[in-house]
């Protein structure tokens, strides 16, 4: 079996909350709590969950923008913690990101050519002609005309800006691109263009993606594997088609039943969860989902479930013990 591009083992990130506002007892937010996953070469891992579930923190850990509190990450088999400075540099070049809002992620004072070349200029020593050649190649990859290099971001529409952001993320020939809600800021008619482009680039360049999105159908469409997070933990993870069509964990079931239908005749069983996601400052004891779970049992309130194999996937729920 191939070595995963990225492999996280028991990854945790705790944020201490300073005392004062909530009284003396300064707490910790367990934003990511004992999470393990891997992304295979040329494949996409979709990360879904509601606000506060820890998916953005997970993305930041992968990007090296946050240091994990616990656990380990391996990049192409090598442990990140034991890497030397050169190894870390190589890692940071190999993992790039595309963010949600292309109106915020591009510097309005820089020309598109300079934006795309910036990662090259800061990370590599290249003659100007070579940089120019690479810019044109990158523009071609994302389907923008050559003259785009001399224009400013405001001269482009949202979809084209997202293409610019994608070109920049590809400048250093990364192995993994973190896509954090890459289409949710775009117009509906433009989304398919960008999703198709991302799929084409993956096939062409053998990229791996960590795809984070609210739109479950888009995640199911883009991903090979899906991991569902709830309050910092993975509730269920497995092959995308199986998981999205036959979810097992009660939370995954509720989440996918809440996804909007693509046709008026499509009637699925609706599971309306009571209440809201609790504060990660005071997560419920036992299974974190138990206060909202329709299948709650007495042991759920006390025992923390662990991820266990269940029909080609991993589910963290006492129902399957």
């Amino acid at each position: 079996m191939a070595t995963p591009v990225i492999e996280a083992k028991n990854l945790s990130k705790l944020f201490p909350v300073k005392g004062g506002f909530f009284g003396r007892g300064a707490g910790v937010v367990r934003a990511v709590d004992d999470v393990s996953f891997s992304v295979m070469p040329g494949q996409t891992l979709g990360l879904v969950g509601e606000s506060g579930c820890g998916k953005t923190t997970t993305a930041k850990l992968v990007l090296g923008l946050e240091e994990p509190t616990g656990g380990s990450m391996r990049f192409e088999g090598q442990d990140l913690q034991s890497m030397d400075a050169a190894g870390r540099r190589h890692y940071r070049k190999s993992v790039q990101a595309v963010f949600q809002d292309p109106f915020a992620s591009l510097n309005p004072r820089m020309r598109v050519g300079a934006i795309i070349a910036e990662p090259l200029v800061t990370n590599e020593v290249l003659p100007a002609t070579e940089v120019k050649k690479r810019i044109l190649h990158l523009l071609e990859l994302v389907g923008l005309p050559e003259r785009a290099a001399d224009l400013f971001p405001h001269e482009f529409s949202g979809g084209q800006r997202q293409r610019i952001a994608i070109a920049r993320s590809l400048a250093l020939s990364p192995r993994l691109v973190v896509l954090d809600e890459p289409v949710s800021a775009l117009d509906v008619s433009i989304r398919a263009q960008i999703l198709n482009l991302l799929r084409d680039l993956q096939a062409q360049l053998g990229l791996s993606y960590l795809f984070i999105a609210h739109d479950l159908a888009a995640v199911a469409h883009m991903s090979h594997t899906i991991a569902v997070m709830y309050l910092g933990k993975i509730a269920e993870t497995g092959e995308a088609a199986a998981l999205s069509q036959r979810p097992k964990h009660p939370y995954t079931q509720a989440l996918f039943s809440a996804a909007l239908p693509s046709h008026p005749d499509e009637r699925r069983e609706e599971i309306i969860l009571p209440g809201e996601v609790p504060s990660p400052l005071r997560p419920p004891a036992g299974c974190r989902f138990h206060p909202r779970c329709p299948h709650v049992m007495p042991r759920c309130a006390t025992e923390v479930p662990v991820l266990k194999p269940q029909e080609s996937r991993l589910v963290s729920c006492h129902l399957f013990d």
Binding site: S189, M222, Q245, L260, S262
Partner: protein, 338 residues
């Protein structure tokens, strides 16, 4: 019986201060809505859907003018009404829910005050009665412990709760029509499901007519009886939801439906729509969609297509769709408005 709401050839233009530039945000839009019915108005940003919603309540910004047409609500033309009379309609007979609940709630007043306000203004309820009603309304929108929550402020609530409070304000005077402009975009999926269910229950309980303004065809598929598709200020297609999802007549509607990822067939290639939505200030001649349209013929570049019936109560503004209709004999015979 006349419909609850009948909009005829409504036009709304944005005009610059010197009147030199005119943007047709809403252009000759017509539709009807029956009591208790749900209409979805779909479109991308800049398609004029929000301007249309605001013009129904005459809440347009100063640069916008209603340049023509009628908005008949319960038989009265709202366009011709004096502003004073509109105040008795807004919030009482037609209510509106906006996208961002934090922006529509006043941070300085308690939730109870804000839910009670329309009752105090429109029904001249006493403070005590209005507060008692406010508690009931909070309970009806599933706010836990309404007795305590009425005295709290918006910042003490979660996003889903705030949006439910805006919903409670909306239904407080038992309106006939509720306009919801992207009501769930800021909510998480499971909270969105809760909220849509709640709206449906409120609709059943009060016989409300609903207008959903959204860019999300999923919401339309789930909630609506009829749908109207807006593109560049025009209603390019409208009809019963099922008819439009099964037999979209306009190439734009068809492309939109095909461009959306579906849960059932993962990893199948999506059909993308080339180009991008037009700038309303510089609309192409003829049909505004023709530069992006795969089926465009010469006529599309020269003349704007009129509304034509393509099936029962299903209309489209498209030369190609209209010509398909006339080629099929008998198709027009049943294509009559009820």
């Amino acid at each position: 019986m006349s419909p609850l709401l009948e909009v005829r050839k409504l036009g709304v233009h944005y005009v610059t201060a010197r009147g030199t530039r005119v943007t047709k945000a809403v252009d000759e839009v017509s539709f009807t809505l029956e009591a208790g019915e749900t209409l979805g108005i779909v479109g991308e940003s800049g398609s004029g859907k929000t301007t249309l919603a605001l013009s129904l309540l005459r809440l347009l910004p100063t640069a916008a003018r209603i340049v023509g047409g009628e908005v008949r609500f319960e038989g009265e033309d709202l366009v011709a009404k004096p502003e004073r009379d509109m105040r008795h309609i807004r919030g009482k007979r037609i209510a509106m829910i906006l996208q961002d609940p934090m922006a529509s709630l006043n941070p300085l007043f308690t939730v109870g005050d804000q839910v009670a306000e329309p009752l105090r203004v429109h029904e001249r309820a006493t403070r005590r009665n209005a507060w008692a009603r406010a508690k009931e309304l909070l309970r009806s929108v599933r706010i836990p412990a309404p007795e305590a929550r009425v005295k709290e402020y918006p910042h003490q609530m979660s996003g889903g709760m705030r949006q439910r409070i805006v919903g409670a304000i909306g239904i407080s005077c038992e309106p006939r029509l509720l306009i919801a402009d992207e009501p769930t975009t800021s909510l998480d999926l499971t909270i969105q499901a809760q909220y849509l269910n709640l709206l449906r229950e409120l609709q059943r309980a009060h016989g409300l007519a609903l207008i959903f303004i959204t860019h999300n065809l999923g919401i339309v598929a789930k909630m609506c009886d009829r749908v109207a598709v807006m593109y560049a200020g025009r209603m390019v297609e409208s009809g019963p939801v099922k008819s439009i999802f099964d037999h979209p007549a306009h190439p734009y509607t068809r492309a939109l439906l095909e461009s959306i990822p579906r849960m059932g067939n993962p990893r199948q290639r999506l059909t993308a729509i080339d180009g991008q939505p037009p700038d309303l200030a510089r609309l192409p001649a003829g049909c505004a969609f023709h530069p992006r349209c795969p089926d465009a013929i010469d006529r599309c570049r020269a003349e704007a297509p009129p509304e034509s019936l393509v099936a029962v109560t299903h209309t489209a503004r498209c030369w190609v769709a209209a010509s398909h209709q006339t080629q099929r004999p008998g198709a027009r015979a049943d294509a009559v408005r009820p």
